[in-house]
């Protein structure tokens, strides 16, 4: 799924990796993409909290992406995410009959996330020996295939907390939680049909290139009325081919990323404990072998993060992908 996962749930990133490969012919294409994000930094209204035994989560998402290109310009991909969370969280559980109970979890979640179907159309392409430019448009739908029990539980806690307060008392819908790792961070699916939109641009001049991608995730109401905030991601940067052989290439790119997510809505109200913006920098390596195989790997280090309320935010992100064109 997407949402809290930021680029870890980046459905288009796996597609983008495939799109980035050298050979571009009609036919089948298979991509395996892996993202790992460490969320060990806890922010409370933008201030980093310190202490022992703070809540954390490590999130790994493996995307299996079979695809088919009808023509070099037109293709479709199915993104199947397998989501794994390793986390620790201590939070209160409210009830209508008894005092709240402090509950600690040090556990894992694993399962199928939200599957996406994404189409690609290369709207512009100009290729020569010295230079090349290609612009592709991507669009698709994310389906509610992942488990949503944790969102349902979080919304139920909100409803209980609301009931305990006098009517009209202003409060955040996530006011019941004292953890930076929320249930909606750990869910496998959102329960919503979401729109996915993107534009990728690949350009090259001699041994140098500049790649960029824009992604926008339009969220709709999902499990128990929970609606994740819409998300915008922009990434890219300049690079150079360090090795150029007859049957292989090896390149290095300086990658910059911007990721911003709006606040979530639950119980009919926006939560000021959700929503964040992050800037990343990091290197990315690319290797192509022959006309069939390519791989990309990179690290993103956050250089600036702002987050509303209490949230765990990324310390670093690692991503890699393998692409095979049949």
């Amino acid at each position: 799924m997407g949402s809290r996962l930021g680029a870890a749930g980046c459905e288009l990133c796996a597609i983008y990796s495939a799109d980035n490969a050298q050979a571009r012919n009609a036919g089948w294409i298979a991509t395996v993409s892996e993202s790992f994000i460490s969320y060990h930094t806890v922010l409370f209204n933008d201030h980093e909290l310190s202490g022992h035994d703070l809540d954390f989560r490590d999130t790994s998402i493996t995307h299996l992406v079979p695809g088919y290109n009808f023509t070099p310009e037109l293709g479709v991909n199915l993104s199947i995410p397998l989501v794994y969370h390793h986390f620790q969280r201590t939070d209160l559980r409210y009830s209508l009959t008894d005092p709240p109970v402090l509950r600690s979890e040090h556990s894992t979640e694993f399962g199928l996330g939200d599957v996406s179907l994404i189409g690609r159309w290369t709207a512009f392409r100009r290729a020569g020996m010295e230079t090349s430019v290609a612009v592709s448009v991507l669009g698709g739908v994310k389906f509610p295939t992942g488990d949503t029990d944790r969102i349902a539980d979080e919304v139920q806690q909100t409803q209980i907390y609301d009931a305990l307060l006098p009517p009209g008392t202003p409060h955040d819908p996530l006011g019941h939680s004292i953890s930076g790792v929320h249930q909606h961070d750990l869910t496998l699916g959102s329960g919503s049909f979401d729109g996915i939109f993107g534009v990728t641009m690949l350009s090259r001049w001699d041994r140098y290139f500049f790649n960029a991608q824009f992604q926008y995730y339009l969220r709709t109401e999902g499990e128990s009325g929970y609606t994740y905030g819409n998300e915008l991601m922009v990434a890219g940067g300049p690079g150079a081919y360090l090795l150029l052989g007859k049957s292989y290439t090896f390149n290095l790119q300086a990658n910059a990323g911007y990721d911003t997510m709006a606040r979530d809505e639950l119980a009919g109200r926006l939560s000021n404990r959700t929503g964040w913006t992050a800037w990343y920098l990091g290197p990315q390596l690319g290797l192509t072998v022959g006309n069939h195989f390519s791989t990309v790997a990179g690290v993103d280090i956050p250089v600036h993060i702002t987050a509303n309320g209490l949230q765990n935010v990324p310390d670093y992100r690692v991503h890699a992908s393998l692409v095979w064109r049949f």
Partner: protein
């Protein structure tokens, strides 16, 4: 070295469920606040913290009450109760030491006895 200090108890809050049967069915909720402040003799500094306070006690549903209080960062709060006329203080709820302020709501059952509540905080 540290010391505890007890501050005056807040005025008892009395709630009656029915005027005609007040004697038999009335129940009382009384709130008391015990503040434990630990000063640092070594540094000569006094902790700058909000005075702990039970901000609200009110009936909830048919046979319960809710007790509200706010907490400062990095302090542990114990909400305790005492059955009158005699008894020992017992923890009803412990708000953990967390690095940010928060608001808690604790549900308790009404009884036909008077009950005192107090909030104990450390450090």
């Amino acid at each position: 070295m540290s010391h505890n200090r007890v501050v005056p108890v807040s005025s008892p809050l009395r709630i009656q469920t029915g005027a005609g049967r007040a004697f038999r069915r009335a129940w009382f909720i009384q709130a008391a606040i015990l503040v434990g402040l630990i000063g640092s003799v070594a540094t000569g500094l006094r902790l700058q913290a909000t005075e702990p306070q039970i901000s609200r006690i009110e009936p909830f549903l048919t046979d319960q009450v809710t007790i509200h209080f706010d907490t400062d960062a990095n302090r542990t709060y114990q909400l305790q109760f005492l059955h009158l006329p005699t008894g020992n203080w017992s923890n009803l709820f412990v708000a953990p030491k967390i690095p940010f302020p928060n608001h808690y709501i604790v549900v308790d059952y009404r009884t036909n006895q008077s009950r005192l509540y107090r909030l104990r905080v450390t450090p």
